[in-house]
């Protein structure tokens, strides 16, 4: 494939988006987009298969190769166009493409590619966090079905999800990792109860999900029965790939006011420098850390592309990212002082309240997606290969 044809393709994509995407939607990830306009845009996108451009056409994708798919994504990003990034598109879809039966692919992929079905993830349990494989939710075979009993926690979007992909224990007597099965079933059924989980930041984006005789069809097991751990781990790799991009799109990027601006305003300037030299040092270190993290991730990707042997940087990136994101809010709190202690208006303005919430929300960044401790364990064991 010549690079000329790639450039032509980019032009084609660009023109199509330019013509199709209404101006009011060119604003990036926001929750307050005009609904009807957004719906029409997503339909048009789905029509071209560009919600999942690299999926086969028969499953609702555009059947594009890696380079062309990347062009679609980068052009969409350049327009700050709304797109679909749910669990279906980013995690279950790729997993089904790899492990699903033809029947499963035909059944589940096209609705994902058209954004018609919302999925949620049933992984963590109260007793199975970092040690996910110790999960206890049971699935017992009854004819063509499995009957499911147990409890999941940290399930995002559970209250709006139509289906769940879920890890269940089908063989309690097998070794820990061998008794786990990856299964799909509908959320809207008797035996499934969703209970929102209020967090310390006041939000309730996660839920606990209780299964009391919920039913799944046996044909909706993905991969072998008892072979769910392999499927689950692979799916998490997709999650990690998605995570990588969250630096820009995450909570820090969405702030109404940058950290530097906030600190300048709150702490004040004297002779061209921040009035508090200690906070100045911390802010400079934070800016440097953010930049160094970006450079390190970029370098790792470039080295991987160049085939240069290097140590895997993934866990280090997650660890440092979590620390960096938390440190940003810690500095904001120092700069805000008691004005960072508000819970609600009046008395505290929007910029202050969003920092207080962000300070609380980001505490989770060193916990979700592999705790700091797990990342450090992984670095020591797999990256540095220090025998245990």
């Amino acid at each position: 494939m010549s690079s000329a044809s790639l450039e032509e393709f980019r032009e084609e994509v660009h023109v199509w988006i330019e013509q199709t995407l209404p101006a009011e939607l060119r604003v990036g990830l926001r929750k307050d987009l005009p609904k009807e306009s957004r719906r029409r845009w997503i339909s048009a996108l789905a029509e071209r298969g560009w919600i999942v451009p690299d999926w086969p056409v028969e499953y609702g994708g555009a059947g594009l190769d890696r380079k062309r798919a990347a062009i679609v994504k980068s052009e969409l990003a350049a327009f700050r166009a709304p797109t679909i990034r749910g669990f279906g598109v980013s995690m279950l879809g790729p997993t089904l493409l790899e492990f699903g039966t033809d029947e499963q692919k035909r059944e589940f992929l096209p609705p994902i590619a058209r954004d018609e079905v919302q999925w949620c993830q049933g992984y963590s349990e109260p007793g199975a966090g970092s040690d996910l494989a110790s999960l206890q939710t049971r699935a017992v075979r009854e004819g063509d079905e499995y009957v499911i009993t147990g409890q999941k926690i940290w399930t995002s979007y559970a209250h709006v999800a139509d289906w769940i992909f879920c890890l269940v224990r089908t063989d309690p007597d097998a070794p820990k990792h061998d008794g786990i099965t990856f299964i799909l079933f509908p959320m809207k059924q008797p035996g499934v109860t969703v209970s929102p989980l209020k967090l310390i930041d006041g939000g309730a984006d996660f839920s606990q999900v209780f299964f009391d005789g919920a039913r799944a069809q046996a044909k909706h097991v993905v991969g072998p029965v008892g072979g769910g751990w392999t499927v689950a781990k692979r799916l998490l790799q997709h999650e990690r790939t998605t995570d990588g991009s969250s630096e820009e799109g995450g909570i820090t990027g969405a702030m109404k006011e940058s950290l530097v601006d906030l600190v300048k305003r709150e702490v004040g300037m004297e002779d061209g420098a921040l009035a508090d030299p200690t906070i100045r040092q911390r802010l400079a270190a934070q800016e440097m850390e953010k930049r160094a993290l970006g450079l390190t991730m970029a370098r790792a990707m470039a080295e991987a592309r160049a085939g240069q042997a290097t140590r895997d940087i993934g866990s280090l990136g997650k660890y440092r990212w979590a620390s960096m994101v938390k440190n940003e809010q810690d500095i904001a709190m120092l700069a805000l002082g008691t004005q960072g202690l508000g819970w609600s208006a009046p008395g505290f303005d929007e910029r202050e309240l969003e920092r207080t919430k962000a300070w609380l929300t980001t505490r989770a960044d060193s916990i979700w997606g592999g705790t700091n401790e797990v990342q450090l364990n992984v670095i020591a064991k797999r990256v540095l290969q220090i025998p245990e």
């Binding site: 200690t278 002082g337 008691t338 960072g340 819970w343 609600s344 008395g347 060193s366 700091n372 401790e373």
Partner: protein, 379 residues
């Protein structure tokens, strides 16, 4: 230097602990928060504490106090901190009460303090005008008006200002913002004309108000300390309040640490208790160090007041710099070691985490107090 508790203090501690365990488990603080209680604490409990003589600990017997020391007050405050009791010790005793005690003439003391000691009068101190603690950065102005003064300005973070009967107000009678000279302290009644108080809701479930002074007139007899030299009183008030707040923090450290330690000993992952992981063990040891060192410097600071030592200011800053650091350390570790469950509102550790951050930033953070300490030490 009283680094250990006396027999009497040990008895007081046991009494206070039983009292709070029974009447004020952490759950009570949550209920007050969630019900959006209009007071934000319990007047009844406060009066009971008055009857027990605890509110009056630092006040002279002549005004109904127990005339004890910060050693004793610290014992009670630590027990408050342990259960996150939101009663108005900081506002009424440490800030407002100390201002009247250290700056008030006899008539003012006799008028105000006996009710304070009984828990029947609430005070507050209005000084904050910015987010970061900067005690002399006051722009609220007081101008002469006949026999009195007219106050105009706005204050933030007036702790328990929504229920205070009197708000001791720091206003500028001379100089410019940041100047230590030119400040004057006034006792302003809550029902004064031109005074408006707006309650605000805080992250730790406590209460502070925005208070606006729209030409509030106050008589010259209501001045605490000397005109233009209010900072002499104010700085001493802040030293005592800071040391008292640190004592409360130590109680919060203790409880947050013990709960986290207990979690390490019970929570299982990978088939073992997470407390078996050496990295967590070492970090628990660090937390223990933070707690113990904080306890030492706070006890020392308390006895600096009680023994009339000359280094109270230094000790106050050493205590708050330390406690602010340890608040960060123990708060962060408590959440991290509790993992996901620590992120839920249901688990009480998060309440401790929030209170620790609030206390860290109240009356000056570690940066502020390290700078102040350095200045006091001549560098």
């Amino acid at each position: 230097m009283a680094l250990t508790l006396t027999e009497d203090q040990l008895i007081l501690r046991d009494m206070a602990r039983s009292f709070f365990d029974e009447k004020s488990p952490v759950e009570r603080m949550r209920t007050l928060r969630d019900s959006r209680d209009t007071t934000g604490f319990s007047h009844e409990l406060w009066k009971e504490m008055g009857k027990l003589g605890w509110i009056g600990i630092p006040f002279p017997e002549a005004v109904g106090g127990a005339e004890l020391g910060y050693g004793e007050l610290g014992v009670v405050l630590s027990e408050c901190g342990r259960v996150l009791a939101p009663e108005p010790f900081v506002s009424t005793v440490l800030l407002g009460g100390n201002a009247v005690l250290l700056g008030g003439n006899e008539p003012l003391q006799k008028e105000l303090l006996p009710d304070v000691c009984r828990g029947e009068r609430l005070l507050s101190l209005a000084f904050h005008e910015h987010g970061r603690f900067a005690p002399h950065a006051v722009e609220t102005g007081a101008t002469r008006d006949g026999d009195g003064f007219r106050i105009r300005g706005e204050k933030r973070f007036v702790l328990d200002g929504h229920v205070a009967d009197q708000i001791v107000t720091v206003a500028r009678t001379a100089g410019g913002s940041g100047d230590r000279a030119g400040l004057t302290l006034f006792v302003v009644d809550a029902d004064a004309a031109g005074l408006s108080v707006q309650r605000t809701e805080l992250v730790d479930g406590r209460n502070a108000a925005r208070v606006t002074f729209d030409d509030v007139t106050v008589d010259a007899t209501r001045v605490l300390g000397e005109i233009d030299r209010g900072a002499d009183v104010l700085d001493a008030v802040f030293d005592r309040a800071t040391i008292g707040l640190c004592a409360e923090m130590v109680g919060t450290f203790e409880e947050a640490f013990e709960r986290t330690l207990a979690y390490l000993k019970t929570r299982e992952q990978f088939g073992v208790k997470i407390g078996t992981f050496q990295a967590l063990r070492h970090r628990a040891a660090h937390m223990f160090g933070g707690l113990e060192f904080a306890r030492s410097v706070v006890r020392d600071a308390q006895s600096a007041i009680d023994d009339g030592r000359g280094d109270v200011a230094e000790c106050a800053s050493a205590a708050k710099a330390r406690c602010s650091e340890v608040a960060n350390q123990i708060g962060a570790e408590a959440i991290q070691m509790h993992g996901g469950i620590g992120m839920t509102d249901e688990e009480e550790i998060g309440l401790f985490f929030k209170r620790l951050k609030a206390a860290e930033l109240t009356l000056g953070d570690a940066i502020y107090h390290r700078n102040r300490f350095a200045g006091l030490r001549g560098y």
